[in-house]
């Protein structure tokens, strides 16, 4: 990343700030609401010397990609943005990320491939960039250069994902649990999930299961009101906490996150459940500390038990595996960015 260009050279540029340079409290001030984004884009369209532009506005970054026919246009954009957001220019200059030419393209490909994401390798960002580009297309603020850059970037991001392990394995505890459930049940559409306890971590796990198409969800909490409230959120059912151990055979996946001082699921409970289930596996995700599932349950046939440490270790291993792929992915990005810049450079005015 470099200082704003001092020469009068035209450029394909990136200007913005992200979680790499700006803490949350500053990013909050820089973030554009949908209404403000629309208003600011209208203002940028009228900015002298800015031929093309796209605004990428997510919770972790506000970035402008554009083609300016003079470096002063980039400066004007910066001043406009700071004035629009009532943000000090000096402060923005301290946290900004700025690049031109191949470097700007490299940054865009890295962002698209999830290499710049807070959760390394996450895939949501590519959709956000596609949305930003589509918005620019509908506003007609992109032209031959950015059209080419964004379309090729989407291809390159997919290439990087399929040719490196940058997106392989889940790196959050909740998603690791869902992946394990898929390894046991194949698909979640017909699975019945019991949530024992209604804590934050249980809620996150339930959300992860629902987002991946889980079937029915039942909540058992020490307070029935809390269980019903929780069940309402997830369009599920609630049962009295005391009944849960006797009804284990009705469920495929049991997510435990109670604050009980000792194990509430005993080997005898699970043995009784497995006599009714027989060929059907039973999966316990024990997120409680101390553990809700007695350790000797894990040795039962067709029963699988993962506790918080197990899930955290898998998430850490997956993250390490992704990190090991970063240098390989970056090498591909560099090569692709250089090649793409060579293609578009003749079309950047003044280059």
């Amino acid at each position: 990343m470099s200082e704003l260009p001092q020469s009068s050279q035209a450029a394909l540029f990136l200007l913005g700030a992200s979680h790499h340079t700006a803490p949350l409290e500053l990013r909050e001030k820089l973030a554009l609401t949908p209404e403000k984004l629309a208003a600011f884009q209208a203002r940028l369209a009228a900015l002298d010397g800015l031929n093309e532009f796209t605004v990428l506005n997510t919770c972790n970054r506000v970035e402008f990609y554009g083609v300016a026919n003079h470096s002063t246009a980039i400066e004007r954009l910066q001043h406009e943005f700071c004035a629009f957001q009532d943000f000090p220019v000096e402060e923005f200059a301290r946290i900004r990320q700025h690049a031109t030419g191949a470097e700007a393209i490299r940054h865009l490909i890295e962002v698209s491939a999830g290499l710049q994401s807070q959760m390394l390798g996450e895939t949501e960002i590519l959709g956000q960039i596609k949305d930003a580009y589509a918005e620019s297309q509908s506003r007609r603020t992109v032209g031959p250069v950015l059209n080419r850059v964004f379309q090729k970037t989407f291809q390159h991001a997919k290439y990087i994902r399929s040719h490196t392990a940058i997106t392989e394995g889940q790196i959050s505890v909740a998603n690791v649990a869902v992946d394990l459930a898929l390894k046991i049940f194949g698909q979640l559409r017909d699975t019945r999930i019991l949530l024992l306890g209604a804590g934050d971590i249980g809620e996150k796990t339930a959300k992860a299961f629902q987002s991946r198409g889980a079937g029915s969800l039942t909540v058992a909490s020490r307070t029935m009101e809390r269980a019903m409230e929780f069940a309402k959120t997830f369009h599920g059912a609630a049962i009295p906490f005391e009944f849960a151990p006797q009804h284990l055979s009705d469920f495929d996946i049991v997510v435990c996150s109670t604050a009980a001082p000792e194990a509430i699921i005993t080997r005898a409970d699970v043995q009784a459940a497995m006599r009714k289930r027989r060929a059907q596996p039973l999966f316990f995700i024990d997120l409680a500390l101390p553990r809700d599932v007695a350790p000797d349950v894990a040795s039962l046939q067709n029963v699988f038990v993962y506790n918080l440490d197990d899930l955290a270790r898998i998430a850490a291993e997956n993250l390490a595996a992704r990190e090991a792929e970063v240098s390989k992915a970056r090498a591909i990005v560099r090569e692709k960015a250089e090649a793409l810049w060579k293609q578009v450079a003749p079309h950047v005015p003044g280059s």
Binding site: K183, I184, F185, P281
Partner: protein, 286 residues
């Protein structure tokens, strides 16, 4: 004019199975998922070549080529592969192609590498087309049980992976426990029906002339069928499930494969009605 022998075609088939096995192994070592389409193509080509090789052998021995250990190994590999081509396309079980290519490579290469297995070629050993059909069905059911043994191994590997929290490498590509359990049940059912049908056809022939079938062969075949029948019944009633079922299927197939040798050697030398006994029953392979 230069013509290729049946064994040459079977060598070609083995090379394609081996290529599939190599593709899967290299992909696993590189921690990458191999292309299912490429694996399917390699096994399909191997299957076509093997079919042609067995067809030539069939012409030579004037019947279904299951007259010696070499032919039985080849026919079992062919049966398992044909099942994979149906099951693999329908259920899209990852790694099944790899395991099938491994089984087919082993059976075909071992049978081709041991000259003693193919030293004697029995010509016209089936005096009745029904008994030939019985034998072919029985060996085909062994192919099904071979594939069942493979999916059982995959099941055990997946259970080991999940219970010991070892999820990377080969384990990351295995199908889910439920998928494997369902395919195991289907294969067990298919194998059981095929073998039962084979025995029904064979028993009609046997009832006509009880002296025509060797007692050892009869006992072994019935014992194998009974073992699979009991296993199938216990699974249907959920009394034999999960790891125990998988181990049972693997052990039963190993026993069935070993027993083939005794069944094959206990077969009486047939005398085709239209040929002199001494010259028509066997030819030797150098």
């Amino acid at each position: 004019m230069f013509t290729l022998t049946d064994r040459t075609w079977l060598w070609f088939a083995a090379v394609f199975y081996l290529a599939g096995f190599a593709l899967g192994t290299i992909s696993l070592l590189r921690q990458r998922r191999h292309s299912r389409a490429v694996m399917y193509f390699l096994v399909s080509v191997g299957f076509c070549l093997q079919t042609f090789g067995l067809y030539l052998r069939g012409l030579e021995v004037k019947g279904c080529p299951i007259g010696n250990t070499f032919e039985i190994f080849q026919f079992t590999a062919w049966s398992a592969t044909s099942l994979y081509l149906v099951v693999g396309a329908t259920f899209r079980l990852s790694l099944l192609g790899y395991f099938t290519s491994c089984l087919a490579t082993t059976l075909t290469l071992v049978s081709l590498s041991v000259p003693a297995f193919d030293a004697v070629r029995r010509v016209g050993i089936f005096p009745d087309p029904w008994i030939e059909f019985h034998a072919a069905l029985a060996i085909f059911s062994y192919g099904v049980f071979g594939l069942l043994a493979l999916t059982s191994i995959m099941y055990l590997l997946q259970v080991y992976s999940l219970q010991n929290h070892r999820l990377r490498g080969l384990f990351s590509f295995l199908p889910s426990i439920i998928d494997l359990d369902q395919i195991n049940l289907r294969l067990l059912k298919t194998g059981f029906y095929l073998m039962s049908a084979s025995l029904v056809v064979g028993s009609v022939y046997w009832l006509r002339d009880t002296s025509a079938v060797n007692a050892l062969k009869l006992s072994i075949t019935f014992a194998i069928w009974l073992a699979y029948t009991v296993t199938f019944a216990l699974r249907v009633f959920s009394m034999l499930v999960a790891k125990r079922l998988a181990w049972t299927c693997i052990i039963l197939f190993a026993v069935a494969l070993i027993s083939l040798r005794f069944v094959s050697s206990s077969r009486p030398a047939p005398t085709p009605p239209d040929q002199p006994a001494a010259s028509a029953t066997a030819s030797t392979y150098p």
